[in-house]
Symmetry: C2
Subunit: 460 residues, 2 copies
């Protein structure tokens, strides 16, 4: 397209909002928010932060040296920002180590041996050096497993191959409808004597990336090793299983569970001018899975949270309440960071907590929980964001890390971004810096900063 048109967000349009949000809400606020967006869009600082986090630190699995490098880096960045307070919180976290590059193949009597690109699921037991081998049983649900029973499953490898539903407008529908296989597959298969599980990646993308992610064990059921396989790999494995009912599968993983290590949340604050004891929190999680660079999940949320502080400083907006940025550790495994933070701050007053953990995509709005008064006020703020094509202000989840503040009285708010591409990257080697668009991510940071500005000014 060669022409010039569309969506001129004019000053007239900007002045046209406000009014309905209350007697004190007006065009001055619209202009502040416009300035926030403008500054976010012209700045490359946050994007360069993300580049550093992704390329110089990389994937940062909870408990790893890389995760502590990330802690040190955020601490340093915040330390250079002339904030009122920068500190860490310290707590023990799990130290699961992936070990060697995983190896797997299927052997068909019809088409021979074929290797598959797989990855151990998060906190899985390893197979040990010898690996595990067995006939493949393909199922699409736990019910199917139950019907097959121990006589068909014992000693075999269960292949969970239920695809993510594509029809949801949000890709979380597809993810949510298939991720039980990853989380509970090993427990359910081990009930009937399986020796391992292979799980189709929980994504709406059809590609060659295996996705990892947390899985769980149950203390009363044997802990069997579990791997993820890409969606295209799963289709191929299913095809091979169809051509040869006695298809055998082998995989080797050398993951290990190790003693807990100490890790940290990192926190930076701009002290409030009027009510410094009341906190507005913005945050994301600093840990990531180890296969990629943790760019969308959740490097974006980290650099956006830092960016919110920078935007306030750069524009000279002095918050009435304390504006606190938290880089949470261990979201992906045990949420020790979120839990620790909530416990450590239980005597503080939080008026709102905003988490960005949906990737650095174009923002649609916010989902939130809180009292009726809080949620109604948040809905009213919507008018300030529609010039930016940000329309979604609905009740819903806030975020994993801030969920532990659910009894704090704070409104819990999640940045809602477009989800179409999220699971193309999520928990896979494809979650890299290059997949994040600077302007999309900055639009998200500006949306958060704008909302913080309104909450700080009008409270909830």
């Amino acid at each position: 397209m060669k022409y010039v048109l569309f969506i001129a967000v004019t000053i007239v349009f900007l002045f046209g909002v406000g009014g309905k949000a209350g007697a004190n809400v007006g065009s001055e606020d619209s202009l502040v928010i416009r300035n926030i967006f403008s500054e976010a869009l012209v700045s490359f600082e946050s994007y360069e932060n993300l580049r550093y986090l992704c390329k110089n630190i990389g994937g940062r699995l909870t408990g790893s040296e890389s995760a502590e490098n990330a802690v040190d880096w955020v601490f340093k960045i915040l330390g250079e920002m002339n904030l009122n307070r920068v500190y860490k919180q310290e707590f023990p976290v799990r130290n699961w180590i992936r070990g060697d590059k995983e190896y797997a193949y299927a052997e068909s009597r019809i088409s021979g041996k074929k290797e598959f690109n797989v990855c151990a699921l998060g906190v899985s037991e390893g197979t040990g050096d010898k690996g595990v081998m067995g006939r493949i049983i393909e199922v699409k649900s736990f019910d199917e497993l139950k019907k097959l029973g121990r006589e068909n499953i014992e000693g075999k490898i269960v292949f969970f191959n239920r695809a993510a539903d594509q029809t949801g407008i949000s890709t979380y529908n597809g993810y949510g409808g298939s991720v039980d296989q990853r989380v509970r597959g090993a427990i359910e298969a081990a009930r009937y004597g399986a020796v391992g599980v292979v799980v189709r990646s929980a994504t709406v993308s059809l590609d060659n990336f295996p996705h990892t992610g947390i899985m769980r064990y149950n203390d009363s059921i044997p802990r069997i090793p579990a791997i993820g396989i890409s969606t295209m790999g799963a289709d191929e494995l299913s095809r091979m299983r169809t051509e040869d009912e006695e298809l055998t599968f082998y995989f080797r993983t050398t993951c290990s569970q190790n003693p807990d290590v100490i890790s940290h949340n990192v926190i930076g604050e701009i002290r409030g001018t009027e009510k410094p004891e009341e906190v507005i929190l913005v945050g994301g999680h600093l840990d990531s899975w180890d296969l990629g660079e943790g760019a969308h999940d959740d490097g974006a949320g980290i650099v956006q949270s830092i960016e919110v502080l920078r935007l306030f400083q750069k524009l000279g907006i002095r918050p009435r309440h304390t504006l606190r940025m938290v880089a949470f550790m261990d979201e992906e495994i045990d949420q020790k960071g979120g839990r620790y933070y909530a416990e450590a701050t239980k005597n503080e007053k939080h008026i709102a907590a905003i988490e960005s953990d949906g990737g650095g995509f174009i923002p649609h709005g916010f989902s939130f929980s809180g009292t009726r008064e809080q949620t109604e006020k948040l809905r009213i703020f919507k008018e300030f964001f529609t010039p930016y094509l940000i329309h979604y202000f609905e009740k819903g989840g806030g975020g994993v890390d801030i969920s532990f503040l659910r009894n704090s009285g704070a409104a819990l708010i999640g940045l809602v971004v477009d989800s179409q591409r999220y699971f193309d990257h999520h928990h896979s080697a494809n979650d890299v810096f290059e997949s994040v668009n600077r302007r999309e991510m900055q639009m998200g940071a500006a949306a958060i900063a704008g909302l913080v500005y309104l909450i700080d000014k009008y409270e909830l």
Copy 2:
């Protein structure tokens, strides 16, 4: 993020729309539109079409063999769809040939010689084998050029280096505010005796891709050669010019203007059951620039338009009016396809024409022009799309190709998609299949199909 939440587009929500759109508009329509989106999201056919167009045909500059291959391919695809009519329109088009890979370097007395990745601008004259060399004069506006005057410019190479403004929420603002340098730079520089122009790419992206695009000459002013340089290249060239005021620049292009050749629009129709003589048009442009694969610009619009026909067929929706898909030729250069189509169909009645030419990104809605009655009705349809996070229904441009129908009485409608990433790809070697997300593109196709369904049922 590991959790499951957000934006469940429930049936309740879907049934909640409608009502206001008129006595006959209700939940039945909501369900049809839901089915359109579901079918679009589960299907990979359109995306595979785009892959073929990009990878097997590739860039398809108007007048090239590749453009005719694309014509044949669309004709074949439509021919296999069991449509009521598939045909071509034939007309002459320009045949500009890029020639050899362009070559350019700057030579500084301080930092020596540095090569730059450049591209001839569309329809530029070539320099000839020997190339062109001269001192570099950097300007950011035509006013600056005027002030410098002939005494400073004659015999030199003018470097237009005004960057695209980043602050617009739509990236078209930045593009529109800088693209004059590309379109008219050679004319303005030649007025004062320049021997060539180098133009900073009209994009909000900071990268190493030079972008091409149409430029114009003026018959009364010498036709001097023009090249595009990437935004990072432009920054570097500017730095070198700052360190050495006598910086020289050389470039060589071998583009050539050749006799017109015959090319085509390709058209496919589902005949209307009640008013077959009245047409609802959906379209995009089949030609593209030659540096990339024309994926977003405008392969996406082509395969989406085909997809609209497929969705109607697959869901058994028989349109009352004739539903016509048009693959327009020559949008990028002289719009011969759009012009020819409008002339050839001037005795037909079009009730609406919808163009997709903003890339295969997540749709925000539609911009449109027409009578007050038409635009008010289109606004009412918005309610059917908000469950899909599609909110933008405003007056504005429809599209270049359909603009020639402006006196036809048809409502002219453009699909408005998120623009943040568009100019990362636009007219550059980076406009490739891999940059298009299947679901984002399919959401756009579904939005168009849903709107066609409503227009067909309720008219405007």
